[in-house]
Symmetry: C2
Subunit: 330 residues, 2 copies
């Protein structure tokens, strides 16, 4: 059997069967990042995320944006577990005919993006490779009381997000399927794809508030992130107030698309998807607002392990376990 | 200008010019790994090392050996800074037509090798890529008093190695240039290439002894490692007793090669190259021997910043700054 016949997620399941368990591990298998107890009270969070030119770089993206994206990818998963990213390393594989000035632009992107996230680009490794590959590593340290896994959601908790979804799905449709968009909206759609931003401050502040019961970033899309939380926490979700941004509604109408499809099944969005203790909702909102963000209540955690969305007309729709998956799109 | 016109080492120099300095960094730029103060007394060591199929996998190597090699590469640099490797992560890029059973063999190699080094394979990332790329991350924590950089060597210190050099250079000549070797020696030569071993226990024990003034692993070859130590510590070396293993002497004679060329300019050897305080030599030897290793005195640190070797006839030879370099071999 070939990798493309199995798909990324089943392949990862095979890995877990082979891998021995580690006694100092502080996070379950398959969480956003790895957690390791470095002493009784503190957990080191380490995450590694590979950016491959052929699958992760969209048409029109600059070299500097590529460097920025690899940092966004790797710091997001560290922050969403509650740890401020302290340092970033990047391994670089490049073809030998690649231009030096383009590599330098990638490095500038990595350096400036690390700074913007309040962390530091510390080093890495360089290699010759047929395809451009950037593998980003981020690490941080979190007090064990503030560590947020995917597995703590309880029925009755509030389901919330830190921003609006759908922009990257539209961006992909514009760049990969040549769909058109009104010129006044174009910049916003492309910006979502070219300049994704991780919610680092929001994630760390939320974790410190003690209001969260679980957390994930939405790099595989909102629907997929909800399924991951559902699986890890053994709960379901009912979504009653999923915002449809005006721009997404316009684009959907122009192209006869379902706006909820764009919102649920996109990817690379890096918004936080969190569950909040109901009696600490105000603390959670304050924690996000004090760092300049917003927290949007979209639904609640249910005992029944299914994920449903109530649309504007009050109809119940099933949210499907779909999202971006490597190897599966051949 | 293209990357192949510049070479890996000059490219990395360009990176350093772009990268901002980091205030919590505990190791200078370009050391074996990254060091970051996680509190007043302890330093987190993180290393990332990329294995690319086209350049790092030798003909005849098994998938399991490839998995083992990526772990060896990444734990070696953590240990040589004095930190016991605590965890390993690996990012994997694979073509979609790659066989699942081969990926599983790679994962088995990563898992078993992590165990053998006393560490734990914790997780990683999977991606689609034209070429097989394995990016290994290892981390550990070291008391700042035991941290060993490349830059502490002082004139008069003893220069020492933890094993014999030359086997991998011979292995490369056999596998890449089709040179022959006596059948009773073949296994040893190939084993050096197929199953490299990092000196993890030796490195950690040596660091804890307090006898070292500097340390580097020899993954780019002995000569290059000496030049790196020389540059970082601003010293030179005189090598008076570089052992020529019997097998290397036989192979060199059979093929009319200089045995010192094989010993000095190989690579991927993972032996430690260390400098030792002269009054603590016995402690250093004891530290290595108690974990089953050997420490071989080969020379001393000199004030004059040149590297010379005195051969068996007493002739002085200049050691050249040569070793494996990506992009430069086009």
């Amino acid at each position: 059997m070939k990798v493309k016949d199995l798909g990324e997620r089943d392949l990862i399941e095979r890995f877990f069967e082979i891998m021995d368990k580690c006694k100092n591990s502080a996070l379950p298998w398959g969480d956003d990042a790895v957690g390791y107890f470095i002493d009784d009270d503190r957990v080191l969070i380490v995450n590694v995320d590979m950016l491959v030119w052929g699958t992760d770089v969209l048409p029109g993206m600059s070299f500097r944006q590529v460097g920025r994206k690899v940092v966004t990818m790797c710091v997001s998963d560290v922050a969403v577990k509650g740890a401020k990213p302290l340092g970033v390393l990047v391994s670089i594989g490049i073809p030998k005919n690649f231009h030096v000035k383009h590599v330098e632009e990638i490095i500038r992107g990595i350096n400036e993006s690390s700074h913007e996230y309040g962390t530091c680009f510390l080093g890495g490794d360089t290699n010759e490779c047929d395809e451009v590959v950037l593998d980003g590593v981020a690490f941080g340290v979190v007090d064990k009381r503030n560590l947020v896994s995917r597995s703590g959601a309880k029925p009755g908790d509030i389901l919330a997000i830190t921003g609006y979804f759908g922009y990257t799905a539209v961006g992909f449709k514009i760049l990969l399927e040549n769909l058109s968009a009104p010129s006044n909206l174009m910049k916003g759609f492309l910006d979502a794809v070219y300049n994704p931003r991780a919610r680092v401050k929001e994630a760390v502040s939320l974790a410190q508030s003690g209001a969260l019961t679980s957390s994930i970033d939405s790099s595989d899309g909102l629907a997929w992130s909800l399924y991951e939380l559902s699986k890890a926490s053994n709960v379901g979700f009912i979504i009653r107030n999923l915002p449809v941004p005006r721009e997404i509604a316009i684009f959907a109408e122009d192209h006869n698309l379902d706006p909820f499809d764009l919102i649920l099944y996109g990817g690379e969005e890096f918004e936080l998807v969190v569950t909040v203790k109901p009696d600490m909702w105000n603390e959670a909102v304050k924690a996000v607002e004090k760092v300049g963000g917003t927290l949007i209540k979209i639904g609640e955690v249910t005992k029944e392990k299914k994920i449903v969305l109530i649309d504007e007309e009050g109809n119940e729709r099933r949210v499907e376990p779909r999202g971006y998956e490597h190897f599966a799109h051949s």
